[in-house]
């Protein structure tokens, strides 16, 4: 009686198996990356997590640095009174507002809404509410973002607003 089992595998089959494993690995990584994008660490929870924005010497007084916070475009400003951070998605229709050093204001290019760089309050134009402030902390020579002052902010704006 023949009880010997012979397993034959061709080089071609082995190559296909390896390539399949790499493809699975790639698909797994891509899925994890998409999930991380859709559910960032502190999204919509108000949970405090320190995210480094920049070293203090990278942002001298009067300059700004753009960054992403919870998947939303944001801006760090170094004003004479200290550091300020705001979400830069305009509260009017969701365009990205940017720093205008010559006017000392944050301005939305779409409908010229203007915001105070110290408080985020609306100075002029159509925006109905201030830019959302971000709590920050300066330590060890760097600026860290903690959380949105209004913990419901991310829930209240469109999913895609400021995501790019």
């Amino acid at each position: 009686m023949e009880d010997k089992i012979t397993l034959t595998i061709t080089r071609r089959k082995l190559t296909e198996i390896f390539m399949g494993l790499v493809a699975l690995f790639f698909a797994g990584g891509a899925t994890a990356s998409i999930l991380k994008y859709l559910w960032p660490a502190t999204a919509a929870t108000g949970e405090s997590v320190e995210i480094k924005i920049a070293n203090v010497d990278e942002v001298p007084t009067g300059s700004v640095k753009k960054f992403m916070f919870n998947g939303k475009a944001s801006v760090l400003l170094h004003m004479p009174a200290g550091f300020r951070a705001f979400g830069s998605v305009c509260t009017h229709l969701g365009c990205i507002a940017s720093w205008k050093p010559d006017e000392n204001l944050i301005e939305c290019p779409c409908h010229l809404g203007k915001f105070d760089p110290n408080t985020g309050e609306v100075v002029s134009g159509p925006p109905p509410s201030p830019l959302p402030a971000i709590d920050i902390v300066v330590k060890n020579g760097a600026v860290f973002a903690l959380n949105w002052k209004d913990s419901n902010y991310v829930k209240t704006i469109s999913f895609y607003s400021g995501a790019a």
């Binding site: 061709t10 080089r11 071609r12 190559t15 390896f18 390539m19 494993l21 790499v22 690995f25 790639f26 990584g29 891509a30 994890a32 990356s33 991380k36 960032p40 995210i51 480094k52 924005i53 920049a54 753009k66 960054f67 992403m68 916070f69 919870n70 998947g71 973002a145």
Partner: protein
């Protein structure tokens, strides 16, 4: 009525075929390492680092290496290992 049936013969043999197979294994391992590197960077970087131009350029370069690597594997697979095809015509 003609019916054509494609049949596959034995795998290619010879030195070139063996070299191609060894290269395919090495390039597949390289593809796995590059893939792991890309997703490790994406998943482990915080938002401020991941939105910088240098980060995006670095990931873009790795993706280009991966694409080149996969192209080389496919070339070697087709040229070095693919079985010969026979077309049989059935009447």
């Amino acid at each position: 009525m003609h019916i054509e049936k494609i049949e596959y013969g034995k795998e290619k043999t010879g030195l070139w075929s063996q070299v191609a197979f060894a290269l395919i294994i090495l390039l597949t391992l390289a593809a796995a390492v590059i893939t792991g590197n890309i997703f490790w960077k994406i998943l482990s970087s915080d938002a401020s680092a991941a939105s910088t131009r240098s980060f995006i350029e670095e990931v873009g370069k790795l993706l280009a290496y991966l694409l080149f690597d996969l192209g080389a594997i496919i070339y070697l697979y087709v040229k070095g290992l693919l079985q010969d095809e026979y077309v049989t015509t059935l009447e």
